[in-house]
């Protein structure tokens, strides 16, 4: 079996078990909904002087990264039961394929949660996303991959630690500063009506980050999981 097929098999397995239990997806959807509601207390959305567009990028990406941390935490932790992680490592699939498969599954789940949250956000805060939906989707695709790669790698790195749930956000959020910043700038600008072509430098930051860290993750995952 080639690398791609092995990765896809792992991804399909993860997605299947997630769709049967809906553990992570329900938790992160409910969580992002709660945060979206809480944000309305931080400023007054009904006040016409408040410019929601100016803060919408920041709000959205905070929600997405919180929801991401929640579901990414489970990615490798769910394999601890019945020593499934050892079985995965011992399987003929290389650790790179295991990592890629898990990353793909997380990516699909997180994207789904993000698209639903984006819809809820636009309804609750009266922000028009329709006009720039495709550019925003591109930004989401690029940034979510950055979150997923870093998150899945650190999900593997922290899987055996005592304070796993806390360690993942502590370690990943500072590392995610560049992509999140790029995403926040791009999303805010897009919602404010600035086309993507004006901010190409941020798109390049995202692409560069994705490429560099995907490569590093595949290189280091063997050291992290096996040693």
């Amino acid at each position: 079996m080639g690398f791609v097929r092995q990765a896809l098999t792992i991804a399909a397995k993860d997605l299947r078990s997630e769709l049967r239990t809906k553990e992570a997806i329900n938790a992160s959807l409910a969580f992002s909904l709660v945060i979206l509601v809480l944000f309305s207390f931080a400023f007054d959305p009904g006040n016409s002087e408040v410019n929601i567009q100016a803060v919408s990028g920041g709000l959205l990406w905070l929600v997405f990264s919180f929801a991401g941390a929640l579901s990414l935490n489970r990615s490798f932790a769910r394999e601890l039961q019945n020593d499934c992680l050892d079985a995965l490592i011992a399987s003929p699939a290389p650790t790179g394929a295991v990592f890629t498969g898990k990353a793909l599954a997380n990516y699909a789940l997180l994207m789904a949660v993000e698209i639903v949250s984006l819809g809820i956000f636009s309804v609750l805060y009266d922000v028009k996303v329709k006009e720039y939906f495709w550019p925003i989707l591109l930004v989401m695709l690029l940034t979510t991959w950055a979150i997923t790669v870093i998150g899945t790698l650190f999900s593997a790195l922290t899987v055996n630690l005592r304070m796993r749930e806390v360690m993942l956000p502590i370690l990943t959020y500072p590392l995610l500063v560049p992509p999140l910043m790029a995403a926040i700038v791009l999303t805010t600008d897009l919602l404010g009506g600035t086309p993507l072509a004006k901010d190409t430098i941020w798109v390049r930051v995202l692409v560069a980050f994705d490429v560099v860290f995907s490569w590093l993750a595949v290189v280091f995952i063997d050291i992290v999981l096996v040693g």
Partner: protein
């Protein structure tokens, strides 16, 4: 041998730092227009020390992963800890200076934000080390984090610069220099040398601690196995 090196470095650091203090306060002309500007002679070298420390830690972590020798891991841990201390010095001195010069403790300027993010990444490194007990696992995972962190610092540094240049805000530029004449830059480099000697001592002390800790740990394991 190591002892003698330490005393030598201590003497060099003491001499350099005292000599620099003398120069900063008594020889160099006082620029009246920038308040408490002398702090810059420690603020900037502290940043140099911290950043070079993080790069050295990157190299040591790479060497550990390549060779599997614990001395590189101990070295990386010691260097990161000392560099983090100097990053803290840099942030605090900067904050004190900002209070005098700008009237605020903190501003979300590109440089301040990038140093803070860098600090957070390596603080995470220290927390990660604390939370793993098994030495091989600790060395392996923290080496990976150190390498990823250092690559990320490059991204943080560049992207925050773009962030602020695209969105100019009414904050003062941190690089206004404050009338830094050409003759006044030299103490910064001399102080950097002084602080580098000081950090070398701290690193040696810290490494010795790590070695002792590991030795005690293995003795304890041995005692338990009987």
């Amino acid at each position: 041998m190591r002892e003698r090196l330490m005393y030598l470095l201590a003497a060099a650091a003491a001499f350099l730092l005292t000599w620099n203090l003398y120069k900063i306060f008594f020889v160099l002309p006082i620029t009246a227009n920038v308040a408490a500007y002398q702090i810059v002679y420690f603020h900037v070298p502290a940043a140099f020390t911290a950043l070079s420390g993080f790069f050295v830690a990157l190299g040591a972590s790479g060497l550990y992963l390549a060779t599997g020798k614990f001395k590189y891991d101990e070295f990386a841990a010691a260097v990161t800890e000392v560099a983090l201390a100097f990053a803290t010095v840099n942030l605090i001195t900067g904050s004190i200076w900002a209070r005098y010069a700008w009237g605020i403790w903190w501003t979300w300027d590109a440089r301040l934000t990038s140093m803070l993010t860098c600090w957070l990444i390596y603080a995470g490194y220290m927390i990660l080390r604390r939370s793993i007990e098994e030495p091989t696992q600790r060395a392996r995972l923290s080496a990976v984090l150190s390498i990823l962190g250092c690559v990320d610092v490059g991204f943080v540094y560049k992207s925050i610069e773009w962030f602020r240049t695209q969105h100019p805000s009414p904050v003062l530029s941190i690089r206004d220099g404050g009338g830094m004449g050409p003759g006044m830059e030299a103490p910064i480099y001399w102080n950097f040398l002084g602080l580098a000697c000081l950090s070398a001592i701290l690193i040696i002390v810290r490494m010795r601690q790590e070695e002792t800790a590991r030795e005690i740990d293995s003795l304890r394991r041995m005692a338990h196995s009987y």
